[in-house]
Every structure is written in structure tokens, then in C-alpha cells.
Amino acid sequence: MPSKNVLAILSGVLAVGLLALSVYTHLDALPVLGATAALIGLFSWGVTHPGRRTALILMAIAAGSAALFFHFDNFWGLVIAGLCFVWSAFGLLPVMDGTWRLKAGFVAAVFLGGVIALWPTVNNLSHGKVPLPAYIRDRVNFAMAEGLDIKGGVRLVYTVEVEEAIRDKRDHYADDMRQELATSFGFHSGEGRVTRDELSKLYEKVHVSTPEAALIRLTFKDPADKSKLDDRFNKAFLGELNQTFGPQPNDVTFKIRADVESTIRDRAVAQAKDTINRRIDTMGLKEAAITTRDEDIIIEVPGIDEKDFREIKDTIRKTARLEFKMVDDAGSEKVFGPPALKADDLPADEGIAQYTEGAPDGVDGSGHKRQPVKGYYARMSCNPPKYANETTTECLGRFKAWAATLSVPDDHQVGFEAVTEPVEDTEPLQFKQVGWRTIYMYSRAELTGDYITDASIGQDQQDFGHYYVLLSFSPAGADRFEEVTGANVNRRFAIILDDLVDSAPVIRQKIGGGKATITMGAGDQEKQLHDAHQLETVLRSGALPAPIVPSNESVIGPSLGHDSIKEAVKGALIGSGLVIIFMVFYYRKSGVVADIAVLFNLMLQLAVLATFSASMTLPGIAGLALTLGMSIDVNVLINERIREELRAGKSVRQAVDQGYDRAWPSIIDGHVTVLITGLILAQYGTGPVKGFAFTLIVGILCSLFSGFFCTRLVFDWWVRGAKVKRLSVGAEF
């Protein structure tokens, strides 16, 4: 019998080796034949051994799916199938019982998985001394990078355009003033939000304009109406605004007070920093450092990988300002239609043309839809012969410059939306941006991104599989959304993201529940998904209070000198070495087991951290060295218990079983308390606290697995497989 087993193992090893060789030699006939023969031998042995049959079937399934995954180039599928193959292959080993083999196979599979996950990292940290096959390099797209203190990185300086935040605040005041004045004139009841009709009535009496960044000017038709600026009005605004009469006799000018202005500035910078922090947090465990300097935000990011960087920069820079405004199709003729704009007057070679469309025009008094009106708009076709090589952004710049020459009333503005066309012969149908068009809308935002509580990605099953981002509003936002859509049935509604109109759908009916979507337009599926992810991230982290512009970018070196890094690494090695030697000295063979468990733990931790592209900083390395000391605790507890049981005169086998059983409660309680801390810090902490918590969680789980689960296998093998009479735990009993 044993000779048969040896033959089976030989044929198994041979099969695996020859299969690898045949893959390596691109299916050369000889190894393929050999592998087939070996496999047949293995299977015929397995079939005669009922206990091994399941394992063989599982191996065959795993190998089959691995081949499929390899064919479709699904790397992680291939890895998982391969690991399953290894796992089930352990079932064939002629040692111990089925449960043990199952567990041992699992450990082996985890080990191999860890090796694959760590490979690029090891290659990275050894500066290429450990070779990395191109096949794996192209597919394992994560690795631990050295942090700012060890390797350095890139330093980005952005300037917050605080003027924009001030302008924003001023608009807010202007809106409040309109509301207050409409109430004083008796157009508005004082309850709820002032409506557009009430505003146009107010426009007859007083004109609220915003000529400069921090200025609001009221121009009264009738100077006597200045009395409307009563105590109530003053109480509401004069705390933060200075009032002057003039410059014209009918004017009253308000200016944001200097101290309020500087508060707005400071707050805008602080908020921008917080938002950027949140965005970087969502991009993995990048130990980035973010500081402020006057109106600048300095971001230091470890590593200098070009692709990573562009991604970070793109995500940081998105203002993510979301606004919802009403489209005024009926009024568009006044600006984009004749006589204001005649098609013949348009510059011929700029690509701008006048278009009309049938546009919805709301409902009449009894709730029936009105006849569509003729809406006018201008359309820019990009890349006319004169500008053959322009980008869509440059094209938009030209369009905006042209649109600035139009005379648009104060309470209206011109929005720009991308025009796309389907690309022929693509499946599913793809769209390409070909130009821009105008959307004539009211400048008052009905709803802003401040009311968004969450964003998530979805894919439209009908509309060419477009990806979209679903927005959820807060209860207050949902109420406002319902109110606005209810009052504007059968009108168009523009969703504006960072000053560009994303879409302008028609409101069919009142929309409750507080959900809205932003659809990704042009580009292939992959690009859409990428854009959708980015938008999700920035919307979740909240909008920047004002746009930021890059002002400086430089590559920086490590903040720790080479000498201190070298010394620290020396410290880490000596420390771990001492611990390992000490354990062997104290526990003998059991100490060796504990050491292996600790090293395995270390490797697993690094592998998990690598999958999250965590940065490796010196305090991080120090933390790992400490984990090493702590994870030894599990084995110390177990070994001490085994010693106690042996001392009490138990047999070796009983001592191991009871040692593990009795050590379990204290191990699990200790681990769970630390795990709770880790989970909560990860949930509620930010920045470095979050990163620390994550490392802690990974460390705890790995230590439980390697220290308890894996070492048990060795002890079981000793007492049940090898049937030792004496356990080597460093003391004689």
C-alpha cells in the first residue's frame, strides 16, 4: 500500500511539473503527453481510493476553471482557481485525517495567495533585485509604496480661489435680501421660498445687483421705497454688511464687512482642506500630508507613479459643485432668437450656428400641458477648418467668449451642455462629443449639492448601458426637490456640475423621494465607469467651497535621511531577531513553531496592506515590529497552558487539546476588544487615525489565523501524526 501511495504522489508532482513545463513551452507535445500520462496515473489511483475521490473531482473542477479563466485573461479568477486547486490537492496527501488535510490545504493556499499579492511589493522594495515576471506585473496593479518619510513624493500646492467663496456668500445675501424685500413690499407671505413670479414683481420696484465681489447694490425705482429698509431688514443684514447710500440717488450699497470677509476666507480654506482630506482618505491608505498656508493648500503625496498621480490630481481638483436650475425655454427667444440674434450675423468660420427646438412650456391653470413653444439656442460645432486641432475645452472657451458678447438679463444666465453623436459600428453604441450648445436658464439655483447625502453608481440597462451616478438628498433637500418639481411640471430642469450643464431633462411630474441621477455621456464603458467612480468619490466627500487652482508642483525627497532609515531598519531586524531567538531558546521546538507563525503573520499583514496600496512609513515599520511582539502573545498563552496541562499529568495529546481549548477564551477576548477599537477607529477616524486602525484590524485577524489556526496544525501533526511521546515546549515533565 505505501508503495502505491508513493507512486501516486510521484505522479501528482510529475503532473504539476509537466503541466507547468507545457505551459512554459507553449504546449510542446512531449510535456503535454507526459502530463496527461501522469494525470491518468493519478486519477486511476484516486478512483480506487474512495476517500480521495472528492479531492480529485475538486482538483479537476479547479483546474478546468483555471484554464477557462486563463483563456479569458481573468487574472484573479485564475489565481483563485489555482489556489482552490492547491487546496484540494492537499486532500490527496496520505497523512493525517481529512479535516487536517483540509485545514493544511487552506493554509497553503493562503500562503501562496500572499506570495502573489506581495510579489510586486517585494520587487519594489528590493529595487528590482527580486525579479517580477511581466505577466504578474501587468495584472497585480497594487503594491506597497515607500512613504513620504522614506522615499519622498510629490508636493502639490493649490490656491483656493477665496474670491469665489466670497462671491458665493454675497449671492446668498442677495437672495436673502430679495426674499426680505419681497416680503416688505407685500408680494410674498414671508413663509417658504419666494417664487419666480414674486421676484419678477419685485424687479418692478427694486433691482438687486452684484457689481463687485463683496458688493450688493439695491436700485429703487422710487426713492421713497428706501423706507422698506426697515429695522427688521437692518437687523437681518447689518450685522455682517456695511450700508452706504449711493453712488446714485436711488442706490443703496451693501458691502461685506472686512472681518466677515476674512472669516469667509479662512473657512473656505479650512473646508477645502477637510474636503481634500476626505477625498484622499477614500483613495486608499495613502499617508498623504495636507497643510494650509494662507490661502494655499499644500498636499504631499508619497510615490511618484505618474498614473496614480494624475488620478489623485483629478480627484482633488474637482470642485464638485452641483446646482439645479430651471431652464427658461420660453424666454430664450429674447437672447438667442431674432431680432436679438440673427443667423446671418453669426461669424461664419467659428462653427457657431442658431438652432430651434420644440420646448415644453409648463402647464396651464387646470393642469393641462401647454403647447410646446419654439426655443432658440446656439450650437458650437468643434473643430471647424479654422481650428482643426482644438480640444473640446478650447472649443468651449471660444464658445464662452462668444456668449459673453450677448446681453443676458441679470436673473438669467447661459449654461453650456456637451453635444454628443453616436460613433458608428460600436457595440454597445458609444458616443463622442462633437460640440457644445447653450441652455438658457434662470441664474437662481433651486437646489445645490449641499443637500446631497450620498452618491452611488448605477448602470442603465436600456439607454446604451450608460453609467450614471445616483444622488440621494437629505430630507430637507428632498422636500425642496419635490416642491420645485411640483411647481414646474412640463418644464426643463438643468443639472449643473462645475458650471457645465450635465443634462436638462423635462419634469414629467412631481418627484418625491429625493433622488436624482447624473448620466455619464461620452466615451467607452471603461471611461464612463472611471468617470462615474470619480464623481461618486467627489460628491460623497462634498464640494469644495471654492475652486482651487494648482500653483506649484515639485518632487520632494524623503523627510528622513538615509542614515536614519538604515539605522531604523537595523533596529527592526535586530529586534525581531532577538525575539525569534528568545522564543526558540525558551520553548525549543514549540518556539520554532511560534516563530514561523509570527513570520507568516507578518507576511500576511504585508500582503493585505499591499492589496490596499498602503504606504510604508517608518512608524508603520515600527508598528509592524511591535505587532510581531504582540502576535507572539497568542503562542505564549497556548504554550504556557500546554505546560500547565502537562504539569498536571495529562497525556501529550490531551495537553495539546486542552491547552488550545483553555487558551482560546483569553485569546478571543483580547483580540475582540482590540478589534472593536480598530473597527470603531476605522469607522469614525480620519487620516492617520483611520490608517492606523486599518493596520490594527488586519494585524489582529492575521494573528488569530496564524497564531491559533496554523500552529494547531503543527501540534496536531506532532501528537496525532508523528505520535510524539514528549512535547518539546522547553521544560521537562
Binding site: H562, E567, V689
Partner: protein, 415 residues
């Protein structure tokens, strides 16, 4: 190999009369140092690093080859603790460095008050503002603001300001010196007559000292840029960390109350607070800088301490079931003695790895390891002399209350 003869019981609780008051004193002293530093009574206070307080950032293009560690050493010799020294890759300047040193405020509150008076912004006793010779309209500030780093004053005037007069006003305040520069003070914004006055800052002092130690042929006369930078860890981090810790405390207590019983829950938390405070106290007494790494170290210590305490608790729970009728103090002695060799092994092993780092580490690492060394000692100690006695005390209180209830109920039942 064995450390102790098995079966020996040490009388740990017999010495608690000495250790518990010591713990109390340590924690109270640390808390006082950390939250209510009294500079006049007590020379110690928390020394927050640039991560928390911000600092001065100086960008220098050195004239001759220097390396990061050399610059760091020179900066440290100039009296700045744990500076950030980072080389900037710059094609124009091969030795372009960025140095961030701890704050900073060059101006005290008294000096600020004196400056406000000198700039005719507030009235001083006996010197009315409408004194036209001292405070003419073109040197009478309508607003005075100090930059966070104390190196700039920005003022506003109602009319075109007289810069020479302002210069004299600033110079008249003792202890304040203007930075030597061609246009200082300067009008920032002619529209609202905003003036910026630059003072000698920590950055300038740093430049002077660097020049003195590294030599004029290495250190240029002027830095490329000297600016105050804000802290890395702001309010957001502090608030989120505080909330997270509070929630974690609640959940851990719930878990322990569920797994052990109510008597055990407060002990772990108090032991953790004890250890965290001892570490912070050690940092304060040793004048080490408290940085983000320190916070990570304190969190690590808390995790370690928690695990250690739970192991001792587990033994107490087991022995409570085994040895009925024994006093709680005896049970503690027994349990601690039984787990003693494990405690020494684990903390010894951890300590070994940390100590090696501590010996070889420099700067930030040394500080990080210092926190861990102190924390491991405290964490091991606190399981025995903080968590266990507290549990015993709570047990006594609860037993007494149960006793009282019994006695109150007994006569009622008799009748």
C-alpha cells in the same frame, strides 16, 4: 526553561497600598500637565509639534553641496526640535531644501497689546488717540491683524498711510524688530490702504544660525521663501478621534460586561486611560514633541494594554469559578501569579523588539519607540495594579449593597 517555580503565589495585592496612590499621582499629574499647564507654577507643558500647531516653513537654495541629514543636524543644533527637512528636486538649484520647524509665535500677548497701542489702533491710558502729533490720520490704523505665525502684521488705514511713521511706531515697541528689507512695511492694496509689516521671524533666526554653523559659503543670505504653515492635524482629526474613542469605550465596556460581567468592564477602560496618560505625561516631562506619530503610538499602547488586561481578567474569571470562598484579593494574587510567566514573556519579547528600535532609531522613530517602551511597562503594570484592584473594589461595593438589601429585606420577611 522556566522563570518561576509553578504553583508559587506572590502577594501582589499586599503592596497595592503603595502602587495605587502612585498611579493616581501619575495620572493626575499627567492630566494637569497636559490640559492645564501652569507655566509659572510648573515648568512643564505639552509640546505639540508642527503637526498640531503649524510652524514656519523655510525654503532655502544652498550654495554648496549639503545633504538632508547634515542640514537636519545643523537645524537641531540651532535649537529646533525634530525639524522636517526635505530635499526638493529642482533643476535650477541642486541643493534646494524645505525646512519646517516648530512654531514660533515671536510675539507675546503683551507685545501684541503694545503694538496695537503703538499703531494707534487702541487707546492707551493717558495717551488719547486724537493726539495729532503721535497719531496723525495717515498713521492711525483702522484695523490691526497679526498673522498666526507672528511674523506679519497687516493693518488698514482710512487714508494714504505714511510708511515711515508706521515704521517708527513699530520700532518703538521693545522686543519687536522689523525684518531688514527694502520695502517693509509695504502697501498691499492701495484701494483699501492695506499695509503689511514684516517682523523678524523664527525663519530669519534659523537662517542666521544656519549661516553661523554651516558657513556663509553654504548658506545664502536670503531664503527663497519664509512662511507660516498651518497644522496637518486640524479640528476635523481631533473631533473625529475623540468621537471614535468615546464610542469605542462604550462598545468595549458592553462587550466585557457581556463576556465577563459588569464588575470587569470599567477596569479595562481605566487601565487604558492610565496608560495613555502616563505615556503623554512622560512625553511632557521629557520635553518630547507630540506629533501624529505619538498619537499612533498611544493608540498602539492602548491596544496592547487592553489585550494584556483581558488575559489577566480571563484568569480571574476562571479562578473565581474554581476557588469559591476565597477573597477576591487572593484570587487576583493567584491569577496574576499564574499568568506571570506569560506576562513576562510577552512583554519581554515585545520590549526586546521595541528596545532595539529605540537604541538604533533617530528623531521621530526614537520618540515613537519611547512612547511604546513607556506604554508597554505601563500596560503590563496597569493590568495588575489598576484594572484588577478596581474590579475588586467594585466587587466589594456591589457585595456590600447586596448585603444591605438582604438585611433590609430580612426583618420584613420575618414578620
Amino acid at each position: 526553561m522556566e522563570f518561576f517555580k509553578p504553583g508559587r503565589v506572590f502577594d501582589f495585592m499586599g503592596q497595592r497600598a503603595f502602587w495605587i496612590p502612585l498611579s493616581f499621582i501619575l495620572v493626575i499629574a499627567s492630566t494637569l500637565f497636559a490640559f492645564w499647564p501652569l507655566p509659572n507654577v510648573w515648568p512643564y507643558g505639552p509640546n505639540y509639534g508642527t503637526d498640531f500647531k503649524g510652524g514656519t516653513e523655510v525654503e532655502i537654495a544652498f550654495l554648496a553641496p549639503v545633504d538632508a541629514s547634515g542640514v537636519r543636524k545643523a537645524v537641531e543644533q540651532a535649537g529646533f526640535q525634530t525639524p522636517d527637512v526635505v530635499q526638493v528636486v529642482d533643476p535650477n538649484n541642486a541643493y534646494h531644501f524645505l525646512i519646517r520647524v516648530q512654531d514660533v509665535s515671536a510675539i507675546t500677548d503683551q507685545e501684541k497689546d503694545a503694538l496695537r497701542v503703538a499703531l494707534c489702533y487702541v487707546e492707551a491710558p493717558g495717551a488719547p488717540l486724537d493726539d495729532a502729533t503721535k497719531c496723525p490720520a495717515n498713521a492711525k490704523a483702522s484695523e490691526v491683524k497679526f498673522s498666526a505665525g507672528g511674523d506679519k502684521i497687516s493693518t488698514r488705514y482710512d487714508t494714504e498711510p505714511d510708511l515711515e511713521k508706521i515704521k517708527d511706531q513699530v520700532r518703538s515697541v521693545p522686543g519687536i524688530s522689523l525684518r531688514a528689507s527694502a520695502n517693509n512695511p509695504t502697501i498691499l492694496n492701495p484701494r483699501d490702504h492695506r499695509v503689511e509689516i514684516q517682523l523678524v521671524s523664527k525663519g530669519d533666526q534659523l537662517m542666521d544660525k544656519l549661516q553661523a554653523s554651516l558657513g556663509k559659503n553654504v548658506v545664502p543670505d536670503k531664503a527663497l521663501r519664509v512662511e507660516w504653515v498651518g497644522p496637518k492635524a486640524g479640528k476635523q482629526l481631533r473631533d473625529s478621534a475623540r468621537n471614535a474613542v468615546a464610542i469605542a469605550v462604550v462598545f468595549i465596556m458592553l462587550y466585557l460586561a457581556f463576556r465577563f460581567d459588569l464588575r470587569f468592564a470599567p477596569g479595562v477602560i481605566v487601565a487604558c486611560i492610565h496608560d495613555a496618560m502616563v505615556v503623554i505625561g512622560a512625553f511632557i516631562v521629557l520635553h518630547r514633541e507630540i506629533t501624529l506619530s505619538t498619537i499612533a503610538a498611544v493608540l498602539t499602547v492602548v491596544g496592547y494594554s487592553m489585550n494584556d488586561t483581558v488575559v489577566v481578567y480571563d484568569r480571574i474569571r476562571e479562578n473565581l469559578g474554581k476557588h469559591r470562598g476565597k477573597t477576591f484579593a487572593h484570587i487576583i494574587n493567584l491569577s496574576v501569579s499564574e499568568t506571570l510567566s506569560r506576562t513576562i514573556l510577552t512583554s519581554g519579547a515585545t520590549m526586546l523588539s521595541v528596545l532595539a528600535f529605540f537604541v538604533y532609531g533617530t528623531g521621530v522613530i526614537k520618540d515613537f519607540m519611547l512612547a511604546l517602551v513607556v506604554g508597554i511597562v505601563a500596560g503590563t503594570y496597569s493590568s495588575i495594579y489598576v484594572a484588577a484592584p478596581l474590579t475588586e473594589w467594585i466587587d466589594k461595593k456591589m457585595a456590600k449593597r447586596a448585603d444591605m438589601k438582604k438585611r433590609l429585606n430580612a426583618p420584613a420577611r420575618a414578620t
